[in-house]
Amino acid sequence: MLYRRKRANLIGIFIILVVVILLNFSIFNTTPLLRFSRAVSIRLIYPVQYAANSLYVATRDFFVNIALLRSAQKENKSLQAELSLYKAKVNSFNELVKDNEQLREYLKYRSSSPFSYRLLNAEVIARSASNWFSSFEINRGQDDGIKGDMAVISADGLVGRIAEVSKSSSKVLLITDPSSAVSVVNQRSRHVGIIIGSSIGPLLMKYVSSNADMQPGDIIVTSGMSEVFPRGIAVGTVTSVNKKDYDLFQKISVSPAVNLSKLESVFVVVR
């Protein structure tokens, strides 16, 4: 009897294993039943995550604000001085933008800068439940016009792309996820490559030929070659370059431009 029960348990485990392995192949991954169960689970969990996140942020901000209140006045004065300086800079920047637009019009050049699209602000409400994946949930979904594969950026640079959309939330696949790949270019030397995510450790820039000019400190930006990411968004900075005579490609490590673990709000590039 006991032996039979143990065997039944083992068969159960085996069936689970087979089903899960099949689930991971795209043909099964897109079955209506699985999509439905994912959508229902996300819709059930989202409000609780949203409430828990709001509570956490409110509690943390309360204590942080008390601590910061003392230095706020002093900081305010110095920020105001800094602001007036930036106002002057913005004016000259606007002039340059106008000149640039005019020149582009002469050349009939279509802009693919992220700032030529509508940017939709979104809050990060929950993060990946695993160390092996890099993703987070934002509080914008289909109702806000979000669609799959839209680029997600922050003030510092590229964050990732929309991987899944539900009614009022979306999952963002970060550039550090192992399944992420972004077409990039070195801002200085203009050599192109692909940035591959690594959920632990630095990003890897691949397919850069061994004779390409790559130096630590070089800024890497999106190339605009794919339909997903507009060109010119900062992706990261080269931290190390490893090239060997007999290798076809260099091994390049890149540190992300955005501190992804500290992000609280992002912009979705609505195209």
Binding site: N9, I16, I125, S198, G201
Partner: protein, 162 residues
Amino acid sequence: MNWLRLFVLILFALIVQTVLMPHFKVFGVVPDLLLILVVISAIVLGRRYGIAVGVVAGFMQDILSSTVYVHIISKALIGYSIGFIKENILGAEEAISTVTVSIVSFISAVIDISFLYFFIGKPVSTIFYMLATIIIYSLYNMAITPLIYPAAKKIMLYDEEK
């Protein structure tokens, strides 16, 4: 054990894991509350519950983390194995110490990484980073288990104690 209560416990762990734990990273690593819950339920309630909690917790974790299903495999296997060891080899739940949790975490991480390699066709990072992460992950899980174990056990055995 009331299944609904167990489900709420899994949901609670999932919310804490996705909302709070990312703010308490140690060297970029978060502990796995759901894995700890699977181990505790297998120890306290046995193999059948271990598998069930493993499947539900793993599935939810996969849904919220990625489009690849790997945690459901490792957590179901861990739930079954720990329940089996407790029922047939060690007998007493005291035998499952925090050190066991760290060993289980190590095994679970290796299973996750292996299946990920199989499904996405490339390693999640270099060997150095993977090993460092697994070690920190195992130690972190071990460190927080004593904080979770008494409360989780009390909730799981609430009906019997009453």
